[in-house]
Symmetry: C2
Subunit: 342 residues, 2 copies
DNA sequence: TGATTTACGTAGAACGGTGCACGAAGCCGC
DNA sequence: GCGGCTTCGTGCACCGTTCTACGTAAATCA
């Protein structure tokens, strides 16, 4: 009801329409919208009544030219990793409660695409940016961070000075996962990791590799430790996985850097006629929805994805609010036990 | 290289900076950017050189106030349905090739959230909108369509006059799926559908129900036909599925409206100790990635999600380009056979 | 009561582009 | 050598907000 007749050009209801309708100045309406200082109760009520009656909605474009857009940009590396919806949900919850909108940018994991997306967010005058599992190097981010508040999720940059980071403790998560396999009696435990990245310690996979090595060393199993690096994320990993599980030195247990690889690995085992966990035990990372399915039953490290999203949004809002000291948040992961590891 | 020093406020490089650098007027630069009529080769080269040298990027906000933003809004019902990345990929490919950016809005399947997102896209001055699997009623869409070009994917509105639709033939897809079950020798074939929607024929589930009934009737199996409507999408469907598969009148085969329900159903069967397909055969819809996993092996209808996205983007661009006659595209689905149906 | 502060409201200049109306050439034919 | 037509390029009025500076009325203090 009260359609407002918001047709482009013609009868579009702008801040001026509201001002006339309420019999006040344009600036007064603007003040009410931003609930700025210096507006009486009477004025506020009058203006709010007009806004409601006319169905006025401020133009983000016009806003962006001078002030804030009240919109946060969220960059997702891809849309297919099942952990992203959870992180996104956390971000959205906090942002919405604070009156902020979200604009999502979806980029393949290629660095060039990501940089393009950041520029695009800049062009669109976002108030701040959250990058989820970005591959962009720290110094590049520092440069962008001078132009816009940035929070990075799933990317370790503990020495960053101009942008914040939010992560789970990937080393600890890996230690817990490997510990569970050791407790279950396994000794010959391999790890499946991402291809070796250039920017070594920033990404999550290398962090989990460190935790893996530490746990193996602590149990005196360093001689069994071996890390298998998968090929590029694009190409199918089927052949490598088959090779790993069908060779003569097949490991008795595998810790995977992510469910994204653990679940295909279980499938390969199934194809080869290997029983999980009797012939090969598997633990993953991320506790994705598919992992929870009974036919999969994957034991996996839960990094509280929603909590990550919430922490990231809170950090970004406080930065937009003026904070300038850096903040690096670390959440603690926990293991969710199912049938695949013992 | 050539960082451009794009700091907010201070040295930001605007269209004016470029104009000065190239020694031409602001309007001339604007013309070059939009490659508008009336600009000589010499001028264009001069301006383009300056743009490249300064690293100039036009402000979307400022653009949106008068002209186009060259940005398309894409509304996804949620971020977790595995078919969405494919549709999105199709949209993106076509849009990018045409020089358009994409802004994604993610909304839970609640109608109110969706309407809010459309308004948000309007506020952001998108040039056009693609709604994927929206639940919004046709007449509401017609109203929005007067304000902005709209294309709807996965929502049948064959009589819509002011917005376009792109769909696969859901009736035909259902007939193919049921036909495969009949060919495999099944007679007692049930269908798992969404809860009864208010807006009956627009959503995909009712369309697939029609196809199911037609196929059963054509095979003289109408007496076996029964459609089980699941509860709301939010609540867990586990109890209903368990009831369906453990009752005395357990069906021998089930056609599911979507892999989203077919995969949980396979898991429930697994929990109950039922073998698939020996004890109960299953066919899904969407041919999602999880369906293709060997441990799942779900036979499913493939609706060429990428093709849907591409067709939608093409339709939207042609509407933005001025087309006013309505266009309703229908793609043909095909069955991907795996182990779950025979 | 007069001086000083405080609270409220307003006018008008930005912000960074677009698009219209117009003027200056250059080219033509006669 | 003078109208008429194109082809280019420019000046300027917008678009819908925010924000600074300022004026005025009410409240507080000496």
């Amino acid at each position: 009801m009260a359609d407002g007749g918001t047709k482009t050009g013609a009868g579009r209801v702008t801040i001026r329409t509201v001002a006339e309708d309420a019999g006040v100045s344009v600036a007064a309406v603007s003040k009410v919208m931003r609930n700025a200082y210096g507006v009486s109760e009477a004025l506020r009520l009058k203006v709010e009544a007009s806004i409601a009656r006319l169905g006025y909605r401020p133009s983000v474009a016009a806003r962006g030219m001078r002030g804030q857009t009240f919109t946060l940009g969220v960059l997702l590396v891809g849309i297919d990793n099942p952990i992203l919806p959870l992180i996104y949900g956390g971000i959205e919850g906090v942002a919405e409660a604070a009156g902020y909108k979200i604009m999502v940018g979806v980029g393949a994991a290629r660095m060039q695409t990501e940089a393009r997306l950041i520029e695009q967010m800049l062009d669109n005058r976002m108030d701040g940016l959250i990058l989820v599992a970005s591959r962009i190097a720290g110094d590049v981010l520092e440069r962008y961070a001078r132009q816009i508040p940035i929070v990075v999720v799933g990317h370790h940059e503990p020495s960053a000075r101009h942008f914040d980071t939010v992560n789970n403790d990937d080393r600890q998560g890996a230690r817990i996962a490997v510990g569970a396999l050791i407790d279950a009696g396994h000794r010959d435990i391999a790890m499946l990791a991402l291809p070796h990245p250039e920017d070594h310690q920033a990404n999550v996979s290398p962090q989990r590799e460190r935790g893996y090595r530490e746990a193996m060393a602590a149990a005196g199993l360093s001689s069994f430790a071996r890390i298998v690096h998968m090929p590029q994320p694009e190409v199918p990993r089927h052949a490598e996985m088959t090779a790993l599980l069908s060779g003569p030195d097949r490991p008795r247990a595998v810790f995977c850097w992510s469910d994204l690889d653990a679940i295909p690995l279980i499938n390969v085992a199934h194809e080869l006629g290997l029983r999980v966990p009797a012939d090969v035990a598997v633990v993953g990372y991320d506790n994705s929805q598919v992992a929870a399915m009974p036919v999969v039953g994957l034991t996996s490290v839960d990094q509280d994805a929603r909590g990550l999203g919430e922490a990231a949004a809170r950090a970004l809002l406080s930065r937009i609010g003026g904070r300038s000291e850096v903040s690096h948040v670390i959440l603690h992961p926990r293991l969710v036990c199912r049938t695949s590891h013992r």
